[in-house]
Amino acid sequence: MMSSNPVFRVTTKILFAPIILYGLYVQFHGDFGPGGGFQAGVIVAAAFILYGLVFGMVALRRLAPPRIVAVFMAIGVLIYGGVGVVSLLNGGNYLDYNALDHHDPAHGQHLGILLVELGVGVTVTSVMMILFFAFAGYGDPKADEDGGQG
């Protein structure tokens, strides 16, 4: 998994931040262009997977501990479901974003879609990373010391 090739290491270090930035662009620009939570989640996860491929699973576990990533998996679903609960509390139907802003329903829709896509993005990112931890780190003794999530 680990690569000592300087070309890979330097390229990864240069590309890591722009890939995540691009992921965020796809995430929050989904209203206006192609993209959204699913695609953004995969792109952000790809940055971490690239890091893991080049610098090794131990470095990736230090950067993104599987235990915390697994928690984010649930947080994404909770954000999505939470938006529905908030719209219920505001007097609308479940996931009725018009209820999020009584004065301007269009603004409520914007807010709802943004939050829901964020939830999707968080879940997809963390599930993709968990899959990588599970497949690439399977049988790796270090995974057990971390709590066995890898």
Binding site: M1, M2, V26, D31, F32, G33, P34, G35, G36, F38, Q39, V42, I43, A45, A46, I49, L53, G56, V58, A70, M73, G76, V77, Y80, G81, G84, Y94, L95, Y97, A106, Q109, H110, G112, I113, V116, E117, G119, V120, T123, V124, S126, V127, M128, I130, L131, F132, A134, F135, A136, Y138, G139, D140, P141, K142, A143, D144, E145, G148, Q149, G150
Partner: protein, 221 residues
């Protein structure tokens, strides 16, 4: 016309790759070819103006799943075992179903037809409302997150459940059979986790050396 020509070219490429995937026994080649297959289908989606789907296909199909399959392949022998069962029965079933599907295509509405049932039910409302009332130009996002919010919630939960399943299956298995002594752990675990065929034995020796190195690194930092 050019669009149709491009589609014919892409579909031909996909068929060629599919046949090659079936014929090849080397798993590495199969995985790389299925990545190429995904990339070509992404190109086809772009050609059909479905950029959101193309985006997903390129990112998931050609990107992540290729990496995940390669990671999984590292635990397997390099070659698929040759098939010993009789293929005539399954082949007949596949051929019959294929012929039925192709016959069904004739009954479908023409590609891009405005009178297709999918385009006359709720789609006109979505198209009219999304930009004018909600000020969201990308209708795909409005349908996905707002009009079809429940479906997407379900999809997100399915992905979440898949992650949970993988944690339960793969993380639970490595934990139980391992010895407790941390000194013997790096040596023992790769051998336990893998089948001891001759080709993988070499690999497990290499990776146990790697694991030792990484364990040392972890201890020193």
């Amino acid at each position: 016309m050019t669009s149709v020509m491009i589609n014919i070219f892409l579909v031909t490429l996909m068929v060629v790759i599919a046949v090659m995937v079936v014929r090849t026994r080397r798993l590495f080649a199969v995985i790389v070819m299925s990545g190429a297959y995904s990339l070509i289908s992404a190109a086809m989606f772009v050609n059909l103006d479905a950029v959101d789907v193309a985006f997903t296909e390129a990112a998931v199909g050609a990107g992540i799943s290729t990496v995940l399959l390669l990671a999984a392949m590292a635990r397997l022998p390099a070659e698929e075992k040759p098939l010993k069962t009789n293929v005539i029965g399954p082949l007949a079933v596949v051929a019959i179903v294929g012929i039925l599907l192709v016959t069904a295509v004739v009954d479908l509405p023409a590609f891009g037809s405005a009178d297709a049932p999918a385009h006359i039910h709720v789609a006109p409302r979505y198209l009219a409302e999304s930009d004018a009332k909600l000020h969201i130009p990308n209708v795909v996002t409005t349908v996905l997150a707002s009009y079809r919010g429940f479906d997407t919630l379900g999809e997100t939960i399915v992905i979440f459940a898949a992650g949970l399943g993988v944690i339960l299956l793969l993380a639970g298995k490595t934990k139980t059979p391992l010895p407790v002594d941390p000194k013997t752990k790096p040596k023992a675990s790769p051998a336990v986790a893998r089948t001891k065929t001759s080709s993988t034995a070499k690999k497990s020796r290499q990776s146990s050396a790697k694991a030792k190195k990484s364990a040392k690194k972890g201890a020193s930092s």
